[in-house]
Symmetry: C2
Subunit: 329 residues, 2 copies
């Protein structure tokens, strides 16, 4: 009856009043946090500024140091390590402070804040990114297998549209990862920009003799790349989970040495496949370079040849460069 | 000298210690805020759940009310308004709580939190969105003017690429606006999805007789649309700023009546231009429908015709529907 409804309502209203109080408390704390956030950010950049001044004057001192005492140079060395440690501490502090987005994200998303202020959330975000890549490369695998075996123009178009969209999305997600402190090398993001353009040019390449001369080899390459991306996923994900375990001090299942040996095994398994892929990119560049002189060739052929060459060079140099870097670590 | 560096370092270290304390405080408060946030969100959804139960039992009561007393139906009516007011209060509370993204944003950006928890920031974000549209439509104006006067295939391609990218970016930004409580109608977001596809199909349409039969009219349409978008920008931005002033109670420059009269003047200036644009969309659909039976016509022609028809219908119905809705307000 209406009376029981009224009673229900009264009970609910009481609950509402306590919710209201909670909400007011929340609002107050939120503003406090915002102002603390600004103070911390300012404090950190002030520290950075003055650290740099000290560093510069130390550098100037060092130059005129040759004649000065042993003690001075020892103090200098001590101060230098202090400076480095302080920088690391500031970096650590920044982990839970919001960071501004880069120019690309600002254009795409506008001035929205994409910082993740929680370690576990950061991990989850990266994990989700790896999974997204996996799902998409499986999808690409099926489509390119289908395209290898058949020759339907619509499916080619769908495939290329998917690649444009996929690489475009990757660049956005990777920029977000970058804001959140990933040490991903600049080239991999550039790689995905270039791949977006490449897929775009493939998309508008008018079908004709040249197109069909290149199509088979390109489709086979796509199948191969999807497979390599699967291997890469297994490796990157392994690294991610093992690094997370390493970060949790109470977890003793894994040691730094254990991680390193796992990483090297994974890497030495993966690298040959990667370099075969890069060789293939070079081969595409070469094939297209010859096709470009064909009478029916459009501007697309030469452009694609250039893009594949750039991908080949960037990928092989960057991947090659990670090996000595990892040995040093 | 090294001594002065040491002194500098000492002074800076003192500052660092207080920064460290501030940072610890911040960290603690941040976690507090997060847990309060979760509690509030839970409380709100619990309120919603029980409000719905009460509402349903009231509805059931109403049906059997005919024979019951006058007093009961009065109490019922009072309770109904209470329910509505409570819903508005809960909605107000949610303004400073993070909201989950929709499926589209989750796919593009991953599980990042795009809520803006500050009224001024929300305003700034919307303002920036309008400015972004303005800059892009000016750019599109120049390119389409250029394309009207010349006929360079590369520029056509650049134009279409720009449109694909632009509409794609708009859908992302609008989804973010939606999460942050914009009352933008679903159609406008759908409109930008469809426009993305439309520009994509234009992009891959092989040049030929049909393409050139349609090109001039399409380029002129683009010039016109850029101009209309400029008018629309002036209107939307005027609404935005005036609504902001209305929201600040200490600002007496503007009244609700003043806003309404301004809005109606703006709208009645804008609407004829909009409907001319929609008529043009219908005309495109019609032209393409006839071109589709041309012997050299590809699938692109029919598809484009369909897409323009959908745009025409959706735009005119949605825009027409806003007029009675605004009169009621
Ligand atoms: C060579 C390679 C295996 C090294 O991986 P790695 O051991 O993770 O390398 P690093 O230690 O330098 O990684 C640093 C960071 O960059 C990220 N990263 C490395 N390569 C990446 C790639 N290709 N794409 C995205 N992120 C990458 C890592 O995940 C790590 O992120 P984190 O800071 O958030 O933890 C890896 O770069 C790779 O797979 N490259 C080949 C990619 C390729 O060529 N693709 C085209 C298909 S042939
Ligand atoms: C008809 C029109 C002028 C009404 O605008 P309005 O007075 O702002 O309409 P409403 O009051 O319903 O707006 C509600 C919300 O939707 C937003 N909105 C309305 N139309 C929008 C559009 N076309 N694109 C994006 N957002 C829009 C408003 O900014 C407002 O946002 P807010 O809740 O964040 O303040 C507007 O919808 C319009 O310009 N439509 C034409 C768009 C068009 O046809 N473009 C294609 C080129 S011809």
């Amino acid at each position: 009856s209406i009376n029981s409804c009224m009673e229900e309502w009264e009970a609910l209203s009481n609950e509402y009043r306590s919710l209201e109080k909670l909400h007011q408390l929340y609002h107050a704390k939120l503003e406090e946090v915002n102002s603390l956030q600004q103070k911390c950010t300012k404090g950190i950049s002030h520290q950075r500024y003055r650290l740099n001044i000290i560093k510069n004057s130390l550098r100037r001192l060092e130059k005129n140091m040759s004649e000065s005492s042993q003690g001075d140079s020892e103090r200098n060395a001590l101060l230098q390590t202090d400076l480095i440690r302080r920088k690391a501490q500031l970096y650590e502090m920044e982990n839970i402070l919001p960071k501004p987005s880069g120019r690309y994200l600002k254009i795409i998303l506008g001035g929205i804040n994409v910082s993740i202020l929680d370690k576990n959330e950061k991990f989850r975000y990266k994990d989700e990114y790896e999974k997204f890549k996996l799902v998409m490369s499986l999808l690409a695998l099926f489509i390119s297998l289908f395209n290898c075996l058949t020759n339907v123009r619509t499916m080619d178009v769908v495939h290329m549209f998917l690649l444009v969209w996929y690489y475009c999305t990757l660049t956005i997600r990777e920029s977000i990862l970058k804001v959140n402190g990933s040490r991903m090398k600049g080239w991999w993001r550039a790689h995905h920009f270039i791949s977006t353009v490449l897929a775009g040019v493939m998309l508008i390449w008018p079908v004709g003799e040249c197109y069909y001369a290149f199509r088979t080899q390109f489709m086979a390459f796509n199948v191969y790349i999807s497979f390599v991306q699967y291997l890469q996923f297994m490796y990157q994900r392994g690294c991610l989970y093992r690094l997370k375990c390493l970060g949790q001090s109470h977890n003793m299942d894994i040691t730094v040495e254990g991680f390193q040996s796992w990483m090297w095994r994974g890497l030495s398994f993966l690298l040959p496949f990667l370099f075969i892929g890069y060789a293939w990119e070079f081969y595409h560049a070469y094939t297209l370079y010859y096709l470009a002189s064909h009478p029916s060739a459009d501007w697309h052929v030469g452009t694609l040849s250039m893009l594949f060459l750039v991908l080949f060079l960037g990928n092989s140099l960057t991947t090659a460069a990670t090996i000595p870097q990892k040995i040093k670590e």
